[in-house]
């Protein structure tokens, strides 16, 4: 059988067996509409309420603070547009975010700018970090919302969310975080971390695609994003995707079970760091993202003189599924905005590789990845006129 190592878990994860089993009844016999009054409907309603409790337990909030959505992008759109619409009427027309958010946030804030709001895009340092002080300095009397991602999808840097939350709470400004990459990878406590709104997506932690959720702290009022029927407490219309919601509940229960995240870190961090250390032995390579404040399974390395897509295709031939920056931008010719935000030049940004490991990866698979990268890099560099230039310049300088 052809070798296949899936190292793109930041793009999506496989649905796990227990999640599939939890979902199956709602794809077969349990077809009731949760809004229906009879027993079949009530059973569907009970199932989504159980999932709501499972999500709430994982985030340390109340079930009624969880609203199911169609995906993580919808949760981001709703949080930002909903807060902006609610607060614009009160004269608050300023939003703070960062330059390296996911496009679900960036394109949403750009839409707000077109509608007359002002947006501050905070820069990040060479490791993809910013401080709570940076956020504090950007807050104005008319700031409606701060939206800063929990962990970056491309480079894996984990931001100081608790500190940023404290600053926002003290200033009386709403704080939203896109935690799509963070859930199941880091311990989240929305109360202790002063988070007002948090977006998550099931398929990043072995749940199904097509379902996400938005946590909205009770007392926070934002405008609806999807108007219609009375589902989700009248705040998100549309007949519930029962099976997927049930799957999301089971998936988060497993991902965030007591000890599960610590166990994941114990297994993945040494393997992640081994890949990083071994790969950086190649000349003209660079680790992108913070060396320690990063997601346990996410690695991002730039190889000078090599273009990312060729690298991915070569690794695919070797049976390794990886990514170059965000898969959402793979249709574009421009290098990743995240890598450019770290100060990388365009040509270096073009040659990046993201590996994102799952908890079940083995030491043998990691060794295979480590041994597969150098020959691919050497082969591509041997045919690269850009690499030729880099070597010549180095020889001239030496």
């Amino acid at each position: 059988m052809k070798k296949f190592i899936y190292a793109d878990n930041a793009a999506t994860t496989p649905v796990s067996q227990p999640v599939l089993e939890a979902m199956l009844p709602y794809l077969k016999g349990e077809y009731g509409n949760p809004s229906s009054i009879y027993e079949k409907g009530r059973r569907a309603l009970a199932a989504i309420e159980e999932a709501r409790r499972q999500v709430a337990d994982a985030l340390h909030c109340k079930p009624r603070e969880i609203y199911f959505t169609g995906c993580g992008s919808e949760a981001d759109n709703w949080a930002i547009k909903g807060a902006a619409m609610a607060l614009y009427k009160k004269g608050k027309k300023h939003v703070i975010t960062t330059v390296f958010e996911h496009h679900a946030v960036l394109h949403t804030t750009q839409k707000l700018e077109k509608l007359g709001m002002e947006v501050t895009y905070l820069p990040v340092d060479e490791n993809g970090l910013l401080t709570a002080e940076d956020v504090k300095a950007a807050i104005r009397p008319d700031t409606a919302l701060v939206s800063i991602m929990y962990a970056n999808n491309e480079i894996g840097t984990v931001l100081p969310i608790a500190e940023i939350g404290a600053v926002c709470r003290q200033a009386g400004v709403l704080f939203h975080t896109d935690a799509v990459q963070a859930v199941g990878n880091v311990e989240i406590d929305v109360q202790a971390q002063n988070i007002d709104m948090l977006s998550l997506s099931a398929h990043k932690f072995h749940g199904p695609k097509g379902v996400g959720a938005l946590y909205i702290r009770s007392g926070v009022r934002i405008e609806n994003f999807l108007d219609g029927g009375g589902q989700e407490g009248g705040h998100r219309a549309g007949t519930e995707n029962v099976a997927s919601i049930v799957g999301m509940g089971r998936a988060i229960e497993l991902a965030c079970a007591p000890g599960a995240i610590a166990k994941k870190h114990d297994h993945l961090v040494p393997l992640r760091d081994k890949i990083i250390a071994e790969t950086l032995k190649l000349p003209h390579t660079r680790l992108n993202g913070h060396p320690t404040q990063r997601l346990p399974g996410t690695i991002n390395i730039s190889f000078e003189g090599v273009e990312g897509e060729s690298l991915l295709l070569m690794l695919d031939l070797a049976g390794i599924a990886a990514s170059s920056g965000s898969a959402c931008t793979s249709g574009s010719l421009d290098p990743s905005h995240v890598l450019l935000s770290l100060g990388l030049s365009h040509d270096v940004a073009h040659g990046s590789l993201r590996l994102s490991l799952a908890e079940d990866i083995t030491a043998e698979e990691v060794d295979y990845i480590i041994s597969s990268i150098p020959p691919v890099i050497e082969r591509l560099r041997a045919m690269s006129p850009l690499w030729e230039k880099i070597v010549k310049e180095e020889q001239a300088g030496a």
Partner: protein, 140 residues
């Protein structure tokens, strides 16, 4: 992004990779900012392209278009090589995804740039023969 088998074949087994010492014409097009650089080396004997090599920094399509372009001009006359169009490169590869059409333009331009260099080395102004070699407009 769906590549044809032909593209994947030329990407994974590129033909005529390398450099030619004492090449009669060398052309380089594209830039690192766009993420594509193609460099083409030609050996020309009696108006025939007797040998050709290339080096490319770029995506799978960039490598495949350079590879097939070298096959399409090797052993051909200069006049034939000047006729090589990006459309012919796309057809020979059984198509390219829309976002990668610019790679075929780059391959055509790389051949023309190498021929222009050949003419310059002969003391002939290449512009009336080869035409203007424009940078690809994909990233402007």
């Amino acid at each position: 992004m769906l590549y044809s088998d032909k593209v994947l074949d030329h990407f994974s087994n590129p033909r005529n990779v390398g450099e030619l010492e004492n090449a009669d014409g060398v052309g380089e097009v594209g830039n690192a900012k766009c993420g594509d650089i193609m460099k083409m080396y030609l050996k020309i004997d009696d108006g025939i392209i007797s040998d050709v090599k290339f080096k490319t920094f770029g995506c799978g399509a960039a490598i495949a278009t350079s590879s097939i372009a070298t096959e399409m001009i090797k052993g051909k006359s200069i006049d034939d090589a000047l006729q090589l169009s990006n459309k012919a490169v796309i057809e020979a590869l059984d198509g390219l995804p829309p976002a990668k059409i610019h790679c075929s333009v780059l391959a055509e331009q790389a051949v023309k740039a190498a021929l222009a260099d050949y003419y310059r080395k002969q003391g002939v102004d290449p512009t009336p023969i080869v035409g203007a070699i424009e940078d690809c407009d994909a990233c402007h």
